[in-house]
Protein backbone atom coordinates (compact mmCIF):
# COMPACT_ATOMS: atom_id res chain seq x y z
CA UNK A 1 0.00 0.00 0.00
CA UNK A 2 1.46 3.35 -0.95
CA UNK A 3 1.71 6.19 1.50
CA UNK A 4 2.80 9.79 1.89
CA UNK A 5 5.11 11.55 4.29
CA UNK A 6 3.56 14.67 5.74
CA UNK A 7 4.16 16.88 8.77
CA UNK A 8 2.25 15.84 11.87
CA UNK A 9 0.27 19.09 11.82
CA UNK A 10 -1.68 17.78 8.83
CA UNK A 11 -2.92 14.82 10.89
CA UNK A 12 -3.24 16.42 14.32
CA UNK A 13 -3.31 19.63 16.28
CA UNK A 14 -2.10 20.40 19.77
CA UNK A 15 -1.32 22.90 22.49
CA UNK A 16 1.50 23.30 24.99
CA UNK A 17 0.99 23.75 28.71
CA UNK A 18 3.64 24.33 31.36
CA UNK A 19 4.06 23.80 35.06
CA UNK A 20 7.43 24.53 36.58
CA UNK A 21 10.15 23.01 34.43
CA UNK A 22 7.78 20.53 32.80
CA UNK A 23 5.97 20.90 29.51
CA UNK A 24 2.93 19.00 28.28
CA UNK A 25 1.94 18.90 24.65
CA UNK A 26 -1.35 17.47 23.42
CA UNK A 27 -1.57 15.79 20.02
CA UNK A 28 -5.18 15.50 18.86
CA UNK A 29 -6.13 13.65 15.69
CA UNK A 30 -8.06 15.64 13.13
CA UNK A 31 -10.08 12.48 12.41
CA UNK A 32 -10.54 9.23 14.37
CA UNK A 33 -9.28 7.23 11.38
CA UNK A 34 -5.85 8.87 11.78
CA UNK A 35 -5.53 7.90 15.44
CA UNK A 36 -3.88 4.45 14.96
CA UNK A 37 -1.27 6.02 12.68
CA UNK A 38 -0.44 8.58 15.35
CA UNK A 39 -0.18 5.94 18.07
CA UNK A 40 2.11 3.84 15.89
CA UNK A 41 4.44 6.61 14.77
CA UNK A 42 4.46 9.44 17.31
CA UNK A 43 6.36 7.54 19.95
CA UNK A 44 8.09 8.71 23.11
CA UNK A 45 11.44 8.02 21.48
CA UNK A 46 10.73 10.13 18.42
CA UNK A 47 9.41 12.99 20.52
CA UNK A 48 12.48 12.82 22.76
CA UNK A 49 14.67 13.02 19.65
CA UNK A 50 12.73 16.01 18.34
CA UNK A 51 13.45 17.85 21.61
CA UNK A 52 17.00 16.52 22.11
CA UNK A 53 18.51 20.02 22.31
CA UNK A 54 16.24 20.75 25.29
CA UNK A 55 17.67 17.70 27.09
CA UNK A 56 14.45 16.15 28.40
CA UNK A 57 15.13 13.97 31.44
CA UNK A 58 12.01 11.95 30.66
CA UNK A 59 9.30 11.85 28.00
CA UNK A 60 5.99 10.20 28.84
CA UNK A 61 3.09 9.54 26.46
CA UNK A 62 -0.48 9.12 27.70
CA UNK A 63 -3.18 7.83 25.34
CA UNK A 64 -6.78 9.05 25.38
CA UNK A 65 -8.53 6.90 22.77
CA UNK A 66 -11.99 8.40 23.39
CA UNK A 67 -10.61 11.80 22.49
CA UNK A 68 -8.38 10.54 19.68
CA UNK A 69 -5.63 12.30 21.57
CA UNK A 70 -2.32 11.72 23.26
CA UNK A 71 -0.60 13.81 25.88
CA UNK A 72 3.17 14.11 26.00
CA UNK A 73 4.85 15.17 29.20
CA UNK A 74 8.45 16.34 28.84
CA UNK A 75 10.41 16.81 32.05
CA UNK A 76 13.11 19.49 32.48
CA UNK A 77 12.80 21.00 29.00
CA UNK A 78 12.09 24.62 30.01
CA UNK A 79 15.56 25.69 31.21
CA UNK A 80 14.16 26.05 34.72
CA UNK A 81 10.63 27.16 33.86
CA UNK A 82 8.78 30.41 33.42
CA UNK A 83 10.61 32.28 36.17
CA UNK A 84 14.10 30.97 35.60
CA UNK A 85 14.61 30.49 31.86
CA UNK A 86 16.34 33.15 29.76
CA UNK A 87 14.22 32.31 26.71
CA UNK A 88 11.82 34.94 25.39
CA UNK A 89 9.17 32.20 25.47
CA UNK A 90 9.97 31.01 28.98
CA UNK A 91 6.65 29.13 29.17
CA UNK A 92 7.60 27.10 26.10
CA UNK A 93 4.25 28.04 24.55
CA UNK A 94 5.62 27.50 21.02
CA UNK A 95 6.91 23.98 21.63
CA UNK A 96 3.75 22.30 20.31
CA UNK A 97 4.71 23.54 16.87
CA UNK A 98 8.11 21.85 17.06
CA UNK A 99 6.37 18.58 17.83
CA UNK A 100 3.76 19.16 15.10
CA UNK A 101 6.59 19.45 12.55
CA UNK A 102 7.49 15.79 13.03
CA UNK A 103 7.27 13.85 9.75
CA UNK A 104 4.80 10.98 9.71
CA UNK A 105 3.84 8.49 7.00
CA UNK A 106 0.15 8.27 6.22
CA UNK A 107 -1.37 5.51 4.02
CA UNK A 108 -2.98 6.93 0.88
CA UNK A 109 -6.37 5.62 1.96
CA UNK A 110 -6.30 7.95 4.97
CA UNK A 111 -5.00 11.05 3.23
CA UNK A 112 -8.51 12.36 2.64
CA UNK A 113 -8.67 13.01 6.40
CA UNK A 114 -5.58 15.24 6.47
CA UNK A 115 -6.02 18.93 7.23
CA UNK A 116 -4.66 21.72 5.08
CA UNK A 117 -2.85 21.41 1.78
CA UNK A 118 0.59 20.24 0.73
CA UNK A 119 3.14 22.57 2.26
CA UNK A 120 5.94 23.46 -0.20
CA UNK A 121 8.19 24.47 2.71
CA UNK A 122 7.97 21.13 4.46
CA UNK A 123 11.03 18.91 4.28
CA UNK A 124 10.44 15.28 5.25
CA UNK A 125 13.53 15.31 7.44
CA UNK A 126 14.21 17.61 10.37
CA UNK A 127 16.21 20.34 8.62
CA UNK A 128 18.05 21.69 11.65
CA UNK A 129 19.60 18.27 12.22
CA UNK A 130 21.32 18.26 8.83
CA UNK A 131 24.05 20.64 9.97
Amino acid sequence: MSSRTVPLYRAAHGRTGDKGNRSNISVIAWHPALWPTLVEQVSEARVAAQFAHRRPSRVMRYLLPNLGAMNFVLDDVLDGGVNDALNLDSHGKALAFLLLDLPITVPDALCEHLAGADDPHFLPTEPWRLA
Binding site: N24, S26, I28, Y62, A69, N83, A85, A94
Partner: protein, 457 residues
Amino acid sequence: MPSATAPLRIGCAAGFSGDRTDAAGPVVDALVAAGGPSFLIFETLAERTLALAQLARRVDPDQGYEPLLDELLRPVLARCLANGIRIVSNFGAANPRGAARRIAALAAELGLAAPRIAVVEGDDIGAPAQRPLLRAALGASADLDGVMKSMVCANAYLGADAIADALIAGADVVVTGRVADPSLSVGPALAHFGWRRDDWDRLARATMAGHLLECGAQVTGGYYADPGYKDVDGLARVGYPIAEIDADGHCTITKPSGTGGRIDAHTVKEQLLYEVHDPAAYLTPDVVADLSDARVVELAPDRVRVEGVRGHPRPATLKVNVFCEQGWLAEGEISYAGPRAEARARLAADILRERLGALAPLRVDLLGVASILGDDGGRYLAMQPPGQARDVRLRVAAVHDDKAVAERLPREVTALYTCGPAGGGGVRTALRRRLSTRSCFVPREGAPARFAMTEPA
Protein backbone atom coordinates in the same frame (compact mmCIF):
# COMPACT_ATOMS: atom_id res chain seq x y z
CA MET B 1 -28.39 11.60 31.34
CA PRO B 2 -29.03 15.32 31.80
CA SER B 3 -30.69 16.06 35.09
CA ALA B 4 -34.20 17.46 35.20
CA THR B 5 -32.90 20.19 37.48
CA ALA B 6 -32.16 23.54 35.85
CA PRO B 7 -28.44 23.83 35.06
CA LEU B 8 -26.11 26.06 36.97
CA ARG B 9 -24.38 28.56 34.69
CA ILE B 10 -20.88 29.79 35.40
CA GLY B 11 -19.40 32.42 33.12
CA CYS B 12 -15.71 33.24 33.07
CA ALA B 13 -14.67 36.78 32.17
CA ALA B 14 -10.90 36.64 32.67
CA GLY B 15 -8.29 33.92 32.23
CA PHE B 16 -5.23 35.70 33.61
CA SER B 17 -4.07 39.02 34.97
CA GLY B 18 -3.64 41.03 31.82
CA ASP B 19 -6.60 39.50 30.00
CA ARG B 20 -9.12 41.70 28.17
CA THR B 21 -11.14 43.75 30.64
CA ASP B 22 -14.21 44.14 28.42
CA ALA B 23 -15.08 40.44 28.28
CA ALA B 24 -17.56 40.38 31.14
CA GLY B 25 -20.30 42.47 29.49
CA PRO B 26 -21.49 39.91 26.91
CA VAL B 27 -21.10 37.07 29.45
CA VAL B 28 -23.33 38.86 31.96
CA ASP B 29 -25.81 39.69 29.17
CA ALA B 30 -26.03 35.99 28.34
CA LEU B 31 -26.39 34.95 31.99
CA VAL B 32 -29.19 37.48 32.53
CA ALA B 33 -30.97 36.39 29.35
CA ALA B 34 -30.76 32.72 30.31
CA GLY B 35 -32.19 33.37 33.77
CA GLY B 36 -31.72 30.76 36.44
CA PRO B 37 -28.87 30.42 38.90
CA SER B 38 -25.56 31.76 37.70
CA PHE B 39 -22.13 32.91 38.77
CA LEU B 40 -19.41 35.01 37.22
CA ILE B 41 -15.77 34.15 37.80
CA PHE B 42 -12.53 35.97 37.01
CA GLU B 43 -9.28 33.98 37.08
CA THR B 44 -6.47 36.51 37.35
CA LEU B 45 -3.69 34.79 39.26
CA ALA B 46 -0.94 33.06 37.27
CA GLU B 47 2.02 31.59 39.17
CA ARG B 48 4.16 34.69 38.95
CA THR B 49 1.33 37.22 39.40
CA LEU B 50 1.05 36.55 43.11
CA ALA B 51 4.74 37.26 43.73
CA LEU B 52 4.46 40.57 41.87
CA ALA B 53 1.37 41.40 43.94
CA GLN B 54 3.26 40.67 47.15
CA LEU B 55 6.06 43.01 46.06
CA ALA B 56 3.44 45.71 45.30
CA ARG B 57 1.95 45.26 48.78
CA ARG B 58 5.37 45.74 50.39
CA VAL B 59 5.55 49.17 48.75
CA ASP B 60 1.93 50.09 49.58
CA PRO B 61 0.02 48.01 52.15
CA ASP B 62 -3.28 48.94 50.49
CA GLN B 63 -2.18 47.36 47.20
CA GLY B 64 -1.35 43.79 46.32
CA TYR B 65 -4.63 42.83 44.71
CA GLU B 66 -5.44 42.72 40.99
CA PRO B 67 -4.44 46.15 39.60
CA LEU B 68 -7.23 46.04 37.00
CA LEU B 69 -9.94 45.20 39.55
CA ASP B 70 -11.90 48.38 38.80
CA GLU B 71 -11.75 47.88 35.04
CA LEU B 72 -12.95 44.30 35.40
CA LEU B 73 -15.82 44.93 37.80
CA ARG B 74 -17.10 48.45 37.17
CA PRO B 75 -18.94 47.60 33.91
CA VAL B 76 -20.84 44.65 35.38
CA LEU B 77 -21.07 44.94 39.16
CA ALA B 78 -24.47 46.65 39.22
CA ARG B 79 -26.05 44.19 36.80
CA CYS B 80 -24.61 41.18 38.62
CA LEU B 81 -25.92 42.34 41.98
CA ALA B 82 -29.33 43.28 40.54
CA ASN B 83 -29.72 39.88 38.87
CA GLY B 84 -28.39 37.62 41.61
CA ILE B 85 -25.25 36.74 39.67
CA ARG B 86 -22.68 36.12 42.35
CA ILE B 87 -19.01 36.81 41.70
CA VAL B 88 -16.09 34.58 42.64
CA SER B 89 -12.50 35.51 41.86
CA ASN B 90 -8.92 35.12 42.98
CA PHE B 91 -8.33 38.79 42.24
CA GLY B 92 -7.53 39.27 45.92
CA ALA B 93 -4.01 38.04 45.06
CA ALA B 94 -1.73 39.05 47.96
CA ASN B 95 -4.36 41.23 49.63
CA PRO B 96 -7.94 39.84 49.52
CA ARG B 97 -9.10 42.24 52.25
CA GLY B 98 -7.73 45.19 50.29
CA ALA B 99 -9.64 43.99 47.23
CA ALA B 100 -12.80 43.57 49.32
CA ARG B 101 -12.50 47.16 50.60
CA ARG B 102 -12.05 48.40 47.04
CA ILE B 103 -15.12 46.48 45.83
CA ALA B 104 -17.20 47.90 48.69
CA ALA B 105 -16.01 51.39 47.76
CA LEU B 106 -16.76 50.77 44.09
CA ALA B 107 -20.30 49.64 44.93
CA ALA B 108 -20.78 52.80 46.99
CA GLU B 109 -19.48 54.97 44.13
CA LEU B 110 -21.98 53.30 41.82
CA GLY B 111 -24.80 54.00 44.29
CA LEU B 112 -25.46 50.31 44.95
CA ALA B 113 -26.62 48.70 48.17
CA ALA B 114 -23.61 47.34 50.03
CA PRO B 115 -22.89 43.83 48.73
CA ARG B 116 -21.94 41.04 51.12
CA ILE B 117 -18.27 40.43 50.39
CA ALA B 118 -16.39 37.43 51.75
CA VAL B 119 -12.65 36.87 51.72
CA VAL B 120 -11.03 33.45 51.66
CA GLU B 121 -7.73 33.27 53.53
CA GLY B 122 -5.18 30.75 54.65
CA ASP B 123 -3.18 30.39 51.44
CA ASP B 124 -0.38 32.69 52.63
CA ILE B 125 2.03 30.53 54.63
CA GLY B 126 5.01 32.88 54.40
CA ALA B 127 4.70 34.24 57.97
CA PRO B 128 7.52 33.56 60.47
CA ALA B 129 5.31 31.18 62.47
CA GLN B 130 4.99 28.92 59.43
CA ARG B 131 8.68 28.88 58.51
CA PRO B 132 9.32 25.49 60.17
CA LEU B 133 6.48 23.96 58.13
CA LEU B 134 7.92 25.45 54.98
CA ARG B 135 11.46 24.36 55.75
CA ALA B 136 10.25 20.80 56.27
CA ALA B 137 8.31 20.90 53.01
CA LEU B 138 11.22 22.26 50.99
CA GLY B 139 13.28 19.49 52.51
CA ALA B 140 16.73 18.78 51.26
CA SER B 141 16.68 21.37 48.49
CA ALA B 142 19.97 23.16 48.09
CA ASP B 143 20.51 26.55 49.70
CA LEU B 144 17.53 26.36 52.05
CA ASP B 145 18.77 29.30 54.12
CA GLY B 146 19.20 31.42 51.01
CA VAL B 147 15.68 30.54 49.90
CA MET B 148 14.19 31.48 53.24
CA LYS B 149 16.11 34.76 53.36
CA SER B 150 15.21 35.91 49.85
CA MET B 151 11.62 34.65 49.98
CA VAL B 152 8.96 36.99 48.59
CA CYS B 153 5.96 34.79 49.30
CA ALA B 154 4.82 31.25 49.91
CA ASN B 155 1.25 30.34 49.07
CA ALA B 156 -0.65 27.09 49.19
CA TYR B 157 -3.21 26.24 46.53
CA LEU B 158 -6.46 26.11 48.51
CA GLY B 159 -9.55 24.28 47.33
CA ALA B 160 -13.24 25.01 46.88
CA ASP B 161 -14.57 24.30 50.36
CA ALA B 162 -14.12 27.78 51.86
CA ILE B 163 -15.52 29.36 48.69
CA ALA B 164 -18.59 27.15 48.91
CA ASP B 165 -18.99 27.91 52.63
CA ALA B 166 -18.82 31.65 51.95
CA LEU B 167 -21.49 31.35 49.26
CA ILE B 168 -23.71 29.22 51.49
CA ALA B 169 -23.34 31.93 54.15
CA GLY B 170 -24.78 34.39 51.64
CA ALA B 171 -21.81 36.15 50.06
CA ASP B 172 -22.55 38.14 46.90
CA VAL B 173 -18.84 38.39 46.11
CA VAL B 174 -16.11 35.97 47.17
CA VAL B 175 -12.54 37.26 46.99
CA THR B 176 -9.69 34.80 47.29
CA GLY B 177 -5.93 34.77 47.08
CA ARG B 178 -4.27 31.61 45.84
CA VAL B 179 -6.77 28.84 45.17
CA ALA B 180 -6.58 26.16 42.53
CA ASP B 181 -8.05 27.71 39.38
CA PRO B 182 -10.83 25.11 38.91
CA SER B 183 -11.90 25.63 42.54
CA LEU B 184 -13.34 29.01 41.50
CA SER B 185 -16.01 26.96 39.68
CA VAL B 186 -16.20 23.98 42.01
CA GLY B 187 -17.08 26.31 44.92
CA PRO B 188 -20.23 27.65 43.27
CA ALA B 189 -21.24 24.14 42.13
CA LEU B 190 -20.80 22.75 45.65
CA ALA B 191 -22.81 25.59 47.15
CA HIS B 192 -25.57 25.38 44.55
CA PHE B 193 -26.07 21.62 44.35
CA GLY B 194 -25.19 20.81 47.96
CA TRP B 195 -22.99 17.88 46.97
CA ARG B 196 -21.10 16.02 49.63
CA ARG B 197 -17.49 17.09 49.88
CA ASP B 198 -16.41 13.54 49.07
CA ASP B 199 -18.67 13.06 46.06
CA TRP B 200 -15.57 12.49 43.96
CA ASP B 201 -17.21 11.90 40.58
CA ARG B 202 -19.30 15.08 40.74
CA LEU B 203 -16.39 17.09 42.11
CA ALA B 204 -14.16 15.84 39.31
CA ARG B 205 -16.70 16.75 36.63
CA ALA B 206 -17.14 20.24 38.07
CA THR B 207 -13.37 20.50 38.32
CA MET B 208 -13.01 19.84 34.61
CA ALA B 209 -15.75 22.39 33.90
CA GLY B 210 -13.69 24.83 35.93
CA HIS B 211 -10.55 23.74 34.11
CA LEU B 212 -12.20 24.49 30.75
CA LEU B 213 -13.35 27.92 32.01
CA GLU B 214 -10.24 29.05 33.84
CA CYS B 215 -8.29 30.31 30.84
CA GLY B 216 -11.17 32.32 29.45
CA ALA B 217 -11.14 32.42 25.66
CA GLN B 218 -8.71 29.50 25.37
CA VAL B 219 -11.72 27.18 25.07
CA THR B 220 -13.76 29.43 22.76
CA GLY B 221 -11.28 29.73 19.90
CA GLY B 222 -8.70 31.95 21.53
CA TYR B 223 -5.15 30.62 21.35
CA TYR B 224 -6.35 28.14 18.71
CA ALA B 225 -6.23 29.88 15.34
CA ASP B 226 -3.74 28.70 12.72
CA PRO B 227 -4.76 30.10 9.34
CA GLY B 228 -5.54 27.46 6.75
CA TYR B 229 -5.69 24.74 9.38
CA LYS B 230 -7.67 26.10 12.29
CA ASP B 231 -9.58 29.16 11.17
CA VAL B 232 -11.42 31.17 13.79
CA ASP B 233 -13.61 34.16 13.00
CA GLY B 234 -13.92 37.22 15.18
CA LEU B 235 -11.03 36.90 17.61
CA ALA B 236 -11.08 40.68 18.04
CA ARG B 237 -14.43 40.23 19.78
CA VAL B 238 -14.09 36.65 21.00
CA GLY B 239 -16.77 35.46 23.40
CA TYR B 240 -15.71 34.16 26.80
CA PRO B 241 -17.00 30.80 27.97
CA ILE B 242 -20.07 29.82 29.95
CA ALA B 243 -20.36 26.34 31.45
CA GLU B 244 -23.81 24.86 32.02
CA ILE B 245 -23.34 22.38 34.84
CA ASP B 246 -26.00 19.80 35.65
CA ALA B 247 -26.75 18.18 39.01
CA ASP B 248 -24.32 15.37 38.23
CA GLY B 249 -21.55 17.81 37.44
CA HIS B 250 -21.47 17.19 33.69
CA CYS B 251 -20.96 20.38 31.73
CA THR B 252 -21.79 21.91 28.41
CA ILE B 253 -19.46 24.67 27.23
CA THR B 254 -20.99 27.56 25.32
CA LYS B 255 -20.50 31.31 24.83
CA PRO B 256 -22.61 34.44 24.43
CA SER B 257 -24.46 34.70 21.11
CA GLY B 258 -23.15 37.31 18.70
CA THR B 259 -19.58 37.07 19.92
CA GLY B 260 -16.56 35.89 17.93
CA GLY B 261 -14.62 32.69 18.31
CA ARG B 262 -15.77 29.10 18.07
CA ILE B 263 -16.42 26.13 20.30
CA ASP B 264 -16.18 22.67 18.81
CA ALA B 265 -14.81 19.28 19.82
CA HIS B 266 -11.30 20.33 18.84
CA THR B 267 -11.16 23.60 20.79
CA VAL B 268 -12.51 21.78 23.84
CA LYS B 269 -10.05 18.88 23.56
CA GLU B 270 -7.09 21.27 23.34
CA GLN B 271 -8.14 23.06 26.50
CA LEU B 272 -9.17 19.86 28.29
CA LEU B 273 -5.57 18.62 28.07
CA TYR B 274 -3.95 22.02 28.69
CA GLU B 275 -1.48 21.83 31.59
CA VAL B 276 -2.54 18.24 32.30
CA HIS B 277 0.15 15.66 33.00
CA ASP B 278 -1.18 12.17 33.73
CA PRO B 279 -4.76 12.39 32.41
CA ALA B 280 -5.82 9.65 34.84
CA ALA B 281 -4.73 11.78 37.81
CA TYR B 282 -5.26 15.51 37.41
CA LEU B 283 -4.46 16.68 40.93
CA THR B 284 -6.36 19.51 42.58
CA PRO B 285 -7.00 20.31 46.25
CA ASP B 286 -10.63 19.20 45.76
CA VAL B 287 -10.32 15.87 43.98
CA VAL B 288 -8.14 13.78 41.69
CA ALA B 289 -9.87 14.02 38.32
CA ASP B 290 -9.59 11.12 35.88
CA LEU B 291 -9.97 11.90 32.17
CA SER B 292 -9.19 8.37 30.96
CA ASP B 293 -12.71 7.83 29.62
CA ALA B 294 -13.65 11.46 28.97
CA ARG B 295 -15.62 12.20 25.82
CA VAL B 296 -16.62 15.42 24.11
CA VAL B 297 -19.87 15.65 22.19
CA GLU B 298 -20.79 18.44 19.78
CA LEU B 299 -24.45 19.21 20.56
CA ALA B 300 -24.85 22.23 18.28
CA PRO B 301 -22.65 25.02 16.90
CA ASP B 302 -20.72 26.50 19.84
CA ARG B 303 -22.18 23.94 22.27
CA VAL B 304 -20.00 21.04 23.40
CA ARG B 305 -20.74 18.63 26.23
CA VAL B 306 -18.07 16.86 28.27
CA GLU B 307 -18.87 13.41 29.67
CA GLY B 308 -17.14 10.46 31.25
CA VAL B 309 -14.97 12.26 33.81
CA ARG B 310 -14.46 10.32 37.02
CA GLY B 311 -13.04 11.30 40.39
CA HIS B 312 -10.83 9.82 43.08
CA PRO B 313 -10.21 10.99 46.67
CA ARG B 314 -8.42 14.32 47.05
CA PRO B 315 -4.69 14.37 47.83
CA ALA B 316 -3.57 14.56 51.48
CA THR B 317 -1.23 17.45 50.66
CA LEU B 318 -1.52 20.92 49.15
CA LYS B 319 0.86 22.30 46.57
CA VAL B 320 2.83 25.38 47.64
CA ASN B 321 4.69 27.83 45.41
CA VAL B 322 7.60 29.69 46.99
CA PHE B 323 9.02 32.75 45.24
CA CYS B 324 12.42 34.24 45.92
CA GLU B 325 14.19 37.32 44.68
CA GLN B 326 17.35 35.86 43.28
CA GLY B 327 19.66 37.74 40.99
CA TRP B 328 19.16 40.23 38.21
CA LEU B 329 17.94 39.48 34.70
CA ALA B 330 19.66 41.59 32.05
CA GLU B 331 18.51 41.73 28.43
CA GLY B 332 19.59 43.63 25.35
CA GLU B 333 18.59 43.71 21.68
CA ILE B 334 19.92 45.24 18.48
CA SER B 335 18.80 44.85 14.85
CA TYR B 336 20.57 44.28 11.54
CA ALA B 337 18.93 44.44 8.11
CA GLY B 338 19.74 44.10 4.44
CA PRO B 339 22.57 42.14 2.80
CA ARG B 340 24.57 39.94 5.19
CA ALA B 341 22.37 41.00 8.13
CA GLU B 342 22.61 37.54 9.69
CA ALA B 343 26.42 37.50 9.45
CA ARG B 344 26.60 40.91 11.13
CA ALA B 345 24.23 39.81 13.91
CA ARG B 346 26.30 36.67 14.50
CA LEU B 347 29.46 38.79 14.65
CA ALA B 348 27.79 41.07 17.23
CA ALA B 349 26.97 37.99 19.32
CA ASP B 350 30.59 36.84 19.19
CA ILE B 351 31.76 40.29 20.33
CA LEU B 352 29.35 40.22 23.28
CA ARG B 353 30.44 36.72 24.28
CA GLU B 354 34.04 37.93 24.40
CA ARG B 355 33.20 41.12 26.32
CA LEU B 356 30.78 39.50 28.77
CA GLY B 357 32.72 36.46 29.99
CA ALA B 358 31.68 37.19 33.57
CA LEU B 359 28.04 36.82 32.56
CA ALA B 360 28.35 33.35 31.05
CA PRO B 361 26.29 31.55 30.06
CA LEU B 362 24.97 34.21 27.78
CA ARG B 363 21.67 33.37 26.09
CA VAL B 364 21.85 34.36 22.41
CA ASP B 365 18.86 34.56 20.10
CA LEU B 366 18.68 35.65 16.48
CA LEU B 367 15.13 36.84 15.88
CA GLY B 368 14.39 35.99 12.29
CA VAL B 369 16.66 32.93 12.41
CA ALA B 370 16.17 31.07 15.71
CA SER B 371 14.90 32.71 18.86
CA ILE B 372 12.15 30.63 20.43
CA LEU B 373 12.53 26.87 20.03
CA GLY B 374 16.14 26.96 21.15
CA ASP B 375 17.70 26.35 24.55
CA ASP B 376 19.61 28.50 27.01
CA GLY B 377 22.72 26.43 26.32
CA GLY B 378 22.75 27.49 22.67
CA ARG B 379 22.71 23.94 21.25
CA TYR B 380 19.81 24.61 18.91
CA LEU B 381 21.32 27.81 17.52
CA ALA B 382 24.62 26.04 16.99
CA MET B 383 22.77 23.45 14.86
CA GLN B 384 21.47 26.12 12.50
CA PRO B 385 23.87 26.58 9.61
CA PRO B 386 24.68 30.27 9.04
CA GLY B 387 22.21 31.60 6.50
CA GLN B 388 21.36 34.68 4.54
CA ALA B 389 18.57 36.15 6.65
CA ARG B 390 18.16 39.84 5.80
CA ASP B 391 16.19 41.05 8.81
CA VAL B 392 17.67 39.85 12.09
CA ARG B 393 17.41 41.10 15.65
CA LEU B 394 20.04 39.92 18.09
CA ARG B 395 18.87 39.35 21.64
CA VAL B 396 21.11 38.43 24.54
CA ALA B 397 20.12 37.67 28.12
CA ALA B 398 21.90 36.64 31.29
CA VAL B 399 21.38 36.46 35.04
CA HIS B 400 23.81 37.45 37.78
CA ASP B 401 23.47 37.78 41.54
CA ASP B 402 25.45 41.01 41.52
CA LYS B 403 23.55 43.93 40.02
CA ALA B 404 26.77 45.71 39.09
CA VAL B 405 27.88 42.74 36.98
CA ALA B 406 24.45 42.31 35.39
CA GLU B 407 24.42 45.97 34.38
CA ARG B 408 27.36 45.36 32.07
CA LEU B 409 25.13 43.52 29.60
CA PRO B 410 22.87 46.45 28.68
CA ARG B 411 25.94 48.72 28.52
CA GLU B 412 27.81 46.39 26.17
CA VAL B 413 24.81 45.98 23.88
CA THR B 414 24.42 49.75 23.71
CA ALA B 415 28.14 50.14 22.93
CA LEU B 416 27.62 48.05 19.78
CA TYR B 417 26.32 51.29 18.25
CA THR B 418 29.91 52.44 17.80
CA CYS B 419 32.05 49.37 18.43
CA GLY B 420 29.99 46.63 16.79
CA PRO B 421 29.24 45.53 13.23
CA ALA B 422 27.99 47.97 10.60
CA GLY B 423 24.42 49.16 10.53
CA GLY B 424 23.22 48.01 13.95
CA GLY B 425 20.16 49.90 15.16
CA GLY B 426 17.19 49.91 17.52
CA VAL B 427 18.91 49.03 20.78
CA ARG B 428 16.58 48.21 23.67
CA THR B 429 17.79 47.04 27.05
CA ALA B 430 16.22 45.99 30.34
CA LEU B 431 17.45 45.10 33.80
CA ARG B 432 15.11 43.69 36.42
CA ARG B 433 14.98 41.63 39.60
CA ARG B 434 14.49 37.97 38.86
CA LEU B 435 11.85 36.01 40.73
CA SER B 436 12.70 32.37 40.97
CA THR B 437 10.24 29.75 42.11
CA ARG B 438 10.14 26.43 43.90
CA SER B 439 7.24 24.09 44.54
CA CYS B 440 6.67 21.82 47.49
CA PHE B 441 3.82 20.09 49.30
CA VAL B 442 2.50 20.65 52.81
CA PRO B 443 0.02 18.53 54.74
CA ARG B 444 -3.53 19.84 54.26
CA GLU B 445 -3.72 20.79 57.96
CA GLY B 446 -0.71 23.08 57.46
CA ALA B 447 -2.74 25.57 55.42
CA PRO B 448 -6.35 25.49 56.64
CA ALA B 449 -8.66 27.64 54.53
CA ARG B 450 -11.23 29.91 56.15
CA PHE B 451 -13.63 32.56 54.97
CA ALA B 452 -14.68 35.78 56.65
CA MET B 453 -17.55 38.06 55.74
CA THR B 454 -16.17 41.60 55.63
CA GLU B 455 -17.97 44.46 57.34
CA PRO B 456 -19.87 46.88 55.10
CA ALA B 457 -17.84 50.04 54.55
